[in-house]
Amino acid sequence: MIYSWKNIVKHNLPLLTICIFIEIFAGQILQGKQEMLVLFPVFLVSIPVINGVSGNIGSVLGARLASGLHVGYISLSIKDKEMHDNLLTSILMGFITYFVLAILIYFIALLGDLQMGIGLIEFVIVVLGTGLLLVCVISLVSVVTAFWSFKKGLDPDDMVAPVVTTVGDTLGIVFLFLLIGVVGIW
């Protein structure tokens, strides 16, 4: 037998506990901003989307870099051309995905009779701005984590996904309130 439940718990618990500590920090920001979120529930709809998209993009980028490093068509250099292509493509895909989803969320919320308090243009600027900032940071984090873990002899496939989703969840919420402040909604 390969698997035992005790080993599964032992291997996963430490990293999970670290992730949970950081996620609780994100949760405390939400609690602090609760008053505002109640007035603009459309941002509550957006939070899982903002976080989910960057997590997916970062994980796919990390998995692609891991395969490239394992097979050898990506080298451990910050000047690697293949890595640059993957990085830029991820950011471009982030831009398209966040743009499409921002418009969709707005109209789904309108159809769902949600209290809006914000116009389409302002909403798209906030979500797209948050998303773009997030996807740039997450893609860089993904590259750094993949390269660093590969250099240390760890498997990037195991490392990138938890790191990228945790950083994405926390920074997603931080950037969202930053953009809300910059656009001057609250």
Binding site: I2, W5, I20, L37, L44, N56, D85, I105, A161, T166
Partner: protein, 184 residues
């Protein structure tokens, strides 16, 4: 040029998963009044979604490796390897849910919010275990279908479980919060 195929294969999936996340978000937005009634509850949302995502995608990816190693397949699905994996995931869900509840309570106290510790920890534990059981069953069903069709589980389970996981977990937190608010 590998980057081109990445756009072709991944972009539709990103947008589709994003739409799935809108469901989770709508549940989140529907909970505003219960967040005001139960202080500290909103704190656990990112953590419990992350714990569910991490545990179930790791579960899915282990089953993917088990398939590639030849210890599990469509004809021989319900065996000791699978049972150990299920047990491991459920024990992790239980332990980490307790950590989430306690951390949310302690950090709230530090920030001068006074949650009800019993209520908060019970809600998190209930939501963690129920969503754990549902997601485990869902993983087994997805893995079974993937095996039957001869796909590579590694390409499917990650995004599928992350998206379903968010939706199921939000519903479970919502349900547990309403239930505990009624009982306690």
């Amino acid at each position: 040029m590998f980057a081109k195929e990445m756009v072709k294969q991944s972009l539709p999936l990103f947008i589709l998963c994003g739409l799935g996340a809108v469901f989770a978000g709508s549940t989140f937005a529907g909970m505003t009044s219960i967040f005001q009634e139960i202080p500290g509850l909103i704190v656990v949302i990112p953590a419990i979604i992350a714990l569910r995502g991490n545990i179930s995608t790791a579960f899915g990816s282990r089953l993917g490796s088990a398939y590639h190693l030849g210890v599990i397949d469509a004809e021989n699905l319900w065996n000791e390897e699978l049972r150990q994996n299920i047990m491991g995931s459920l024990v992790l869900s239980f332990l980490v849910s307790i950590i989430v509840g306690v951390l949310a309570y302690v950090t709230s106290l530090l920030l001068n919010v006074q949650p009800d510790p019993v209520k908060l920890i019970t809600i998190v534990l209930l939501a963690g275990i129920i969503s754990g059981v549902i997601l485990t069953l869902l993983t087994i069903i997805i893995i079974y279908l993937v095996f039957r069709r001869g796909y590579d589980p590694d390409n499917i389970t990650g995004p599928a479980l992350a998206t379903f996981g968010d939706i199921v977990t939000m519903f479970c937190i919502f349900g547990s919060a309403v239930l505990m608010e009624a009982i306690l």
